[in-house]
Symmetry: C2
């Protein structure tokens, strides 16, 4: 069966890094028998430029038909003055919601070749390999009521609602336990149950789901403590599962522990394994179009897509091995460059990975 | 005028560390002419034990009459099974709300004597001195509606409301600018305005208040990026101002950057400079009663009280100098001990600071 892949370059450095991902996918098709067809569609600011919407109808239609989606990044100063509903980020939030991509996997892995890039001491962070699982379609991101209005006494107020239903918590908890089963079988659920009722329900449901996974060691941690522990001793974690906003904050902190967010991929999955894959880093408009961007997070996102959505484990492993090889060979884009290595541009890095396949 | 100080030891290591603070205050009275009278009252689990409430009536009454409040810490496993409203944390949240302590100052300072305790590399964190200003009486902590209930379709849901009014944002923004004026005049307001309407109002009000402080350089940062930047390059910040929940998470991460949260004090102020002072660390029930706790964060909280609420700058400076001297002398409680230093217990440390006054 032919895999349908939709690539959405987006904004900023998005097009450059997605070009390298396309090069990689084409090489897998031509040289290693990957049965896939690629389509391309605009999203974010590019969607607005093309069709007046950050998530054009046609893009959403193609996204629904695809088995796997690859996104570059969205956003940039050119779109800062647009009204709220037209902003690039709304396209990203809309596609997550429309496709029910509730399960967001954000690995934080320190590549041994890049250990010195971390702000943390080697003994604290060396060998780091944790998985943050972030709920992606609930909580304050989508909760209602929301808005800015004027109270009866004439005072303006702004508000959002952090809300989770039992089924929403249950399905992300199951994802968390399933992932932990394939790793070191330790799951840490992060909440703020000492303050928030929504966290109390979260904890209750996670506890109940845990009964179906007797082999996984479950722990709970308050979000403020989790932020501390990630800095103090990040290797204590195996899998962390948490709600949308906490996951946004903690996964970025965890990614930065490695010192090389240009290396980190992510996956956002629905209940059937269909997913959107994107690098963790943003659209970096300041360096767009200059060949400075690191394409490796995007190439590793392709590997995640091959593994999680297309069931092509061998192809995924092939990509990851090739990335390892170019790092061993000392090739580095500027963001991960250190003395003694070869500084290369986006395209050279992409071509090197293809050559190393 | 005699300063009225209320000390509230609380739970876990709270009594031990507050004992050292009391020793210090008595020394300032007897030897350095501090005109103060001390009262003592239970809060948290101790409040529940004494009067069936985490914030007993009598404690609140004394707190209202006091000029400055010193808290040890609250919470412990003995109280974990209590109903929500009786839990130790509720006492802390109630006193913040009742006294309108909306302005929470959380410095993250790396003491040069303790630089090696940080998980971060010395060049990243050496000389760190940032101030996180957290709004403390609004947002999801106190917003309504909140609760757990069953929807019409029979599904249970939990929810909380992140809510801020213009005056609430304005007063914390003013505190932020005022603090920045006394420091390096750089204020970074942290929000999630690309997703939350409440953050959009936050940003709008902060921008407006900025007009009154032309000498302060204001910037805005999304909370996920702030979490990354704190790990990557924390010294880029001078003062950070943010809402309650984001401040809870970021201030703990920032504190942990120093590697010695046993050293960090905090202040929670009302509109008139009255305040509650407490160490940033928790009640650490696992080491309670063993003389292992570090009293320095509490002694430095006394210094903050002398400075911010009692207008006794000279006394504050005296305390801080004494703490610096015992660190120079190599005295260390177990949490900050390293090879070559003198390992001392809680009381020895407290006595040493008094001797060094
Ligand atoms: C761009 C923004 C809306 C988004 C989010 O907050 O989810 C981003 O920070 C992310 O983490 O993917
Ligand atoms: C104990 C808890 C309610 C409290 C908070 O979340 O505010 C604590 O974490 C703090 O930061 O003072």
């Amino acid at each position: 069966m032919t895999h349908k892949i939709l690539v959405m370059p987006g904004d900023g450095i998005g097009p450059e890094i997605v070009t390298e991902a396309t090069r990689l996918l084409n090489a897998l098709r031509e040289r290693f028998g990957l049965d896939a067809e690629l389509e391309k569609a605009p999203i974010g600011g590019a969607g607005y430029d093309a069709a007046g919407e950050p998530l054009p109808e046609q893009t959403l239609k193609l996204a629904r038909e695809a088995d796997g989606l690859l996104l570059g990044a969205v956003g940039g100063p050119r779109y800062d003055e647009l009204p709220w509903e037209k902003r690039p980020e709304r396209g990203l939030l809309a596609i997550r919601a429309q496709l029910e991509l509730f399960s967001n996997l954000r690995p934080a892995i320190l590549y041994p070749q890049l250990a010195s890039a971390s702000a943390l001491k080697p003994e604290i962070v060396g060998g780091l390999d944790i998985m943050i699982l972030r709920e992606l379609t609930g909580g304050a991101y989508f909760g209602k009521p929301r808005g800015i209005d004027t109270r009866e006494d004439g005072v303006r107020q702004g508000y959002n609602t952090i809300i989770y239903s039992e089924p929403e918590i249950e399905r992300i908890a199951r994802s968390g336990f399933d992932i932990a089963m394939k790793r070191d079988r330790r799951l840490c659920s992060v909440d703020k149950a000492n303050v928030l009722e929504v966290s109390q329900l979260w904890r209750e449901v996670v506890e109940r789901v845990a009964k179906d996974y007797p082999d996984v060691a479950l722990s709970h941690m308050y979000v403020d403590n989790a932020a501390m522990q990630l800095v103090r001793a990040p290797k204590q974690f195996d899998v962390i599962v948490t709600e949308n906003m906490f996951g946004d904050i903690l996964s970025d902190a965890a990614a930065m522990l490695t010192g090389s967010i240009g290396m980190l991929p992510s996956a956002s999955l629905d209940a059937h394994g269909k997913g959107l894959y994107e690098p963790i880093h943003g659209s970096a408009p300041d360096i767009a179009g200059q060949g400075l961007a690191n394409p490796l997070a995007t190439l590793l996102s392709v590997a995640m897509m091959l593994r999680y959505s297309l069931n092509e484990e061998a192809q995924a492993a092939r990509v990851e091995a090739a990335v390892g090889r170019v790092l061993d060979d000392g090739l580095r884009t500027p963001d991960i460059w250190t003395q003694g290595c070869d500084k290369v541009d986006t395209q050279t890095m992409g071509q090197a990975v293809v050559a190393a396949l």
